[in-house]
Amino acid sequence: MVARSGYTARELRTAPNALLPDPLVLFFLLGLAARLLRSDLKVPEALYEALALYLLLAIGLKGGVELASHPLDGLGAQVAGSLALGFATPVVAFAVLRFAGRLPVADSASIAGHYGSVSVVTFAVATGWLASRGIAHEPYMALFVALLEVPGILVGIALARLHAPGRVAWGRLAHEVFLGKGIVLLIGGLAIGWAAGPERFTALKPLFVDLFKGVLAIFLLEMGLVVASQLRDLRRGGAFLPAFAIAAPVAFGAAGAWAGTALGFSVGGAAILATLAASASYIAAPTAMRIAIPEASPALSLTAALGITFPFNIIVGIPLYHRIAAAAAA
């Protein structure tokens, strides 16, 4: 007899916890439950900042080291294709929000910007999920996190201002978008990792590679707390936004899996590109959108991106995108 996850009945008897989600997801659920049950658990703000800095830097460094040690055939086409995807998803999201959801232009553009950009933590969970199942992927995928973070934000702002011209301090905004901590740490890490190469990176490996999953676990605990606070706003809106927050990642994930396969990525690489396309930013985008489109409600975009899409992706989405990528490859 084979159970639904592919484990035999005997394996399930000897390891009954095999059906539970990944430990990383369980950390997230612990944080979620703690906040919903009004526990006084809190991750200090300075620690949250430090963990975010570590994760961004570690992801950049690992990607940079891999870039230095792998042949980069076909990378140009993959970069161009991924950027095209990054510019297309927010336009589609905007059209759906504006015309199917009948949301105001500002809110549609702001939410589209969040979904056009990417979530670094969702990326980290996806690489962990693939690694724990022994599924290989192009080791330089961190490059695509850095590439895909910005286009969505730019498109979101442009869409808002095309419809309702307003003063945008483009200089200040460009500074905010391109010199935000996410981009600085990712690109900086990529550059340092690339310059160091595999051998000189060995000394940094215990901190930036071996401890990565443990740090990610603590970060996900904090994400659980934050998401639980965000769910309070969910009761106020209608049914459209929650539906969008689940349909959009599935549609964009499928598009990403298909595009990744067409661009010559492995199944694991296509699954990660799909995860990036499906994820929504909640670090870079909210700050940029708040400055560029002040009339948009941050509660709407954060409830959708953080309250629904983020948990959906880490629990259901990643395995789903991997399946779609496997189907696309076959």
Partner: protein, 101 residues
């Protein structure tokens, strides 16, 4: 002790506004300012300051009545429609008037 009357302007706002508020206050004549990270709640909910988009700041400016009111008017006109802002003025006594023009 010789004291001199000035106005204390306190602005509590979303952290996203910090840079703009500082630049505006300087431009409108404030010689100095102080910013704290804070958390709190109001009619529309709470801001716990757990992460980037949930942070709030409190900015204090001590200045002459004219400068403090000019900053307050500018903030009211520019940000209050779209952002969470709480603002008040109070009387203050300073010891070195040349620091608070």
């Amino acid at each position: 002790m010789d004291t001199h009357p000035r106005k204390l302007l306190v602005i509590i706002a979303e952290a996203a506004l910090e840079r703009s508020l500082v630049a505006d206050a300087r431009r409108l004549g404030a010689q100095g300012y102080t910013v704290h990270d804070v958390r709190g709640g109001g009619r529309h909910g709470t801001r716990e300051g757990d992460w980037e988009a949930d942070r709030s700041i409190e900015m204090k400016v001590i200045a002459t009545e004219a400068v403090a009111e000019a900053i307050a008017r500018h903030v009211l006109a520019t940000y209050c429609a779209d952002y969470s802002v709480t603002m008040f003025l109070a009387d203050a006594q300073v010891l070195r008037p040349e620091k608070f023009s």
